[in-house]
């Protein structure tokens, strides 16, 4: 590398500063300037999320998986003429939601990471230099969308299972069970998606972030399955109990173990995790170059 030519002295440049008249004539737009706030960002993110096909695809597949698998398990169980012995029929909805969760994860990651993949993020950040506001709007819009879609599907499949299995000695779910099996699990899935959104914003790469999230969902369970050594018993137990599928099943009151999280605990765990990830994404977004 050679030395670049000498930069020019500053004194020689701004001769035009002596221009007569108004110092900076400027231009004033006739369109009124409004003060922007989170509401604007929410409207913008809603336009964005509904105007790409990946949203339609992932949510479409999600509905298909949850309703389809729910319907299938319901039919299989009812056809085998079982005696459910007072078991809650809502728990059959778990399988569809576990698979459907992958779609929510994908959509969550794509909401943020696809902007990095396409370069759209630069346009967005120029249009709204308050980066935290953009992230918050994305998280809110996505969370609400994911929650509403999951809630509708979970409720639908819940009613379906209850009506299908009434005659087979199934338990009539209480109000609390209904709440956990619909609102509770929907909040959990939507939070899982929001966690993915934060990871997408941190990793800034769609495929990478989706891989990480799917690994986080499945790896603990798979690893625990192969822990045969008795000295690892405690670790295996913890991995089972705190794996995301097991936490999800707790909303239906059937867990892999008797100890570990119970009741609404999984929701609080996921809330803390998601909050931390959003916080990290927020801090990185503010400090990193876009």
């Amino acid at each position: 590398m050679s030395t670049p030519p000498p930069p020019m002295p500053q004194s020689a440049a701004p001769e035009w500063q002596a221009a007569p008249g108004h110092p900076y004539p400027g231009y004033t737009s006739p369109i009124p300037v409004v003060r922007t706030h989170l509401g604007h960002a929410l409207a913008s993110e809603w336009t964005k999320i509904k105007s790409v096909r990946s949203t339609i695809w992932t949510l479409g597949v999600f509905v298909l998986l949850v309703v389809g698998i729910g319907l299938l398990t319901g039919l299989i169980v009812s056809n085998s003429d079982p005696d459910l012995g007072g078991e809650s029929p809502l728990s059959l909805g778990f399988f569809g939601l576990l698979l459907g969760g992958m779609c929510i994860i994908t959509l969550g990651v794509l909401t943020t990471a696809s902007e990095y993949g396409t370069g759209m993020i630069r346009t967005t950040m120029v249009a709204c230099p308050s980066r935290g506001r953009v992230l918050l709007a994305k998280a809110l819009v996505f969370f609400l969308l994911a929650f509403v879609v999951t809630l509708v599907c979970a409720t639908l499949i819940g009613f379906l299972h209850v009506s299908l299995l009434e005659e087979y000695n199934a338990k009539d779910p209480s109000g609390g069970e209904w709440l956990k099996g619909t609102v509770g699990v929907s909040l959990y899935v939507a939070l899982l998606g929001t966690l993915s959104l934060a990871i997408g914003s941190i990793i800034r790469h769609s495929a990478g972030a989706i891989t990480i999230m799917i690994g986080a969902v499945l790896a603990p369970l798979v690893i625990a399955l192969f822990m045969f050594s008795s000295s690892l018993r405690d670790v295996q137990q913890a991995l089972f109990e705190y794996s995301i599928p097991n936490q999800m099943s707790i909303f239906y009151a059937n867990s892999l173990s008797e100890s570990g999280p119970s009741g609404w605990d999984p929701l609080w765990i996921m809330l803390v995790l998601t909050g931390a990830a959003i916080g990290g994404a927020f801090a990185l977004l503010e400090s990193r170059d876009v």
Binding site: P5, H40, S287
Partner: protein, 420 residues
């Protein structure tokens, strides 16, 4: 009004922009020039708050971009035509940006009409051509009807009609009193569009002056003098006389002389006094492109070399001459204005023996560092010369690229005589 003060950006140990200070005033189109990798885009990104400067600051209307209230209503930018989500329609893309800054939705249809995309507004932008993408980017920049506009390579991929449109758009935006800051590689385009130029090389400011001053200061306007080919001694005689009178003489390949530092009538007088007949005495004025190349030749990071195909070519039969390279292939070690007749031999054809690049990747940089600035401390800082035949001291001095000196004699034959 954009103002940068001591702007510096480092990526690891690489300094992309160093101590850049300039102002972009309203009411004019300011061109932003520099070779690839000179830091233009980095500077633009720092202006827009996308990258945080390592040192210094840049403000728009007195505020850093990220502190501007409702920034898109004050600054519009076209950074990268491909910075859109391809799956979204043009209209939805603009609508989401409009909503973000509280711009009424009907404005979206307005700007779509302005850039001529209303017919494809509902098509996904993935299928857009480069020119259409560029128009979409310009629409996004115009969306907020801002008083400051930044365009990074706006005419990339546009058809001639589009180029003309962009040119007029820039001018009309500036005429409305807006600040227009445009980067481009197309010198002919800049010469037509820009009023003012900011030139950077290797991340440092090289010039900040009006287009007219820039051309005058950085081009060696010269006179071509041709004496009868049949009498070489006349040529020597005239060279000596001109040098004595204070002019610079640079022989050209075809035997003509390139004279700088003397007005045309004076050259004629000298020839007359010396009893030398002239076959040609013609003025030659440089273009913006020449002026730009001359200034930035030392700051070019990416320089092409001749495609050697070494080891891939068949052995020439003994005695056969290797084919002459087509002039213009690879880049010359240093830039000199070509002769006016375009069909003629280039001044310094980029020939070199096989196995040796013309002057190495940075071979030229040693010279141009000295070339434009050798006689005076800084030619750019000096007032522009008034007489077209009195060139700035930026005339190419009789110096050869040092990298060429140890090369084989065969290479030297292709150099100008004074370069040996």
């Amino acid at each position: 009004m954009i103002e940068a003060v001591g702007l510096t950006k480092r990526y690891g140990d690489k300094t992309a922009v160093y101590n850049l200070s300039f102002q972009v005033r309203p009411g004019a189109v300011t061109g932003f020039l520099g070779p690839n990798g000179s830091g233009k885009s980095t500077t633009m990104r720092m202006i827009l708050g996308l990258d945080n400067p390592s040192a210094g600051r840049v403000t728009i209307g007195g505020y850093p971009y990220r502190k501007l209230p409702n920034a898109p209503r004050q600054v519009g930018a076209l950074l990268d035509a491909k910075a859109v989500h391809g799956g979204r329609s043009a209209r939805n893309h603009l609508l989401s940006l409009a909503q973000l800054s509280g711009i009424p939705a009907r404005r979206v249809d307005e700007v779509l009409g302005v850039v001529g995309l209303h017919d494809v507004a509902r098509r996904r932008s993935k299928g857009f051509s480069l020119g259409m993408g560029q128009r979409l980017g310009i629409a996004a920049a115009l969306l907020g009807d801002p008083q400051v506009l930044l365009f990074d390579e706006p005419v990339n991929g546009l058809d001639p009609e589009g180029i003309l449109w962009v040119r007029n758009l820039m001018k009309s935006l500036a005429a409305e009193g807006r600040t227009v800051f445009v980067s481009s590689h197309l010198m002919s385009e800049m010469a037509l569009t820009a009023d003012h130029l900011i030139v950077i090389g290797r991340g440092q400011l090289m010039a900040d002056m009006s287009v007219k001053d820039f051309i005058s200061a950085n081009s060696a306007d010269f006179a071509r003098v041709r004496t009868p080919d049949t009498e070489p001694q006349q040529r020597e005689k005239l060279s000596a006389a001109i040098t004595e009178a204070g002019g610079h003489v640079l022989p050209e390949q075809d035997g003509a002389l390139r004279v700088t530092g003397l007005p045309l009538p004076r050259i004629s007088d000298i020839a007359h006094d010396g009893d030398v007949r002239l076959w040609e005495l013609s003025p030659h004025q440089a273009s913006l492109e020449e002026a730009y190349m001359r200034m930035t030749q030392g700051a070019v990071d990416y320089r092409s070399t001749i495609d050697q195909k070494e080891g891939l070519q068949q052995q020439l039969p003994p005695g056969a001459q290797p084919p002459m390279p087509v002039p213009g292939q690879g880049q010359p070690g240093w830039y000199a204005p070509p002769p006016p007749q375009q069909g003629g031999q280039p001044f310094a054809p980029p020939q070199s023996p096989p196995g040796q690049a013309p002057a190495g990747p940075y071979g030229a940089s040693g010279v141009p560092g000295a070339a434009p600035g050798a006689p005076a401390a800084n030619p750019y800082a000096q007032p522009a010369p008034q007489a077209p035949q009195t060139p700035a001291p930026a005339a190419p001095p009789a110096a050869a690229p040092p990298a060429a000196a140890p090369s084989a004699p065969a290479a030297d034959l292709t150099k100008p005589e004074d370069a040996r």
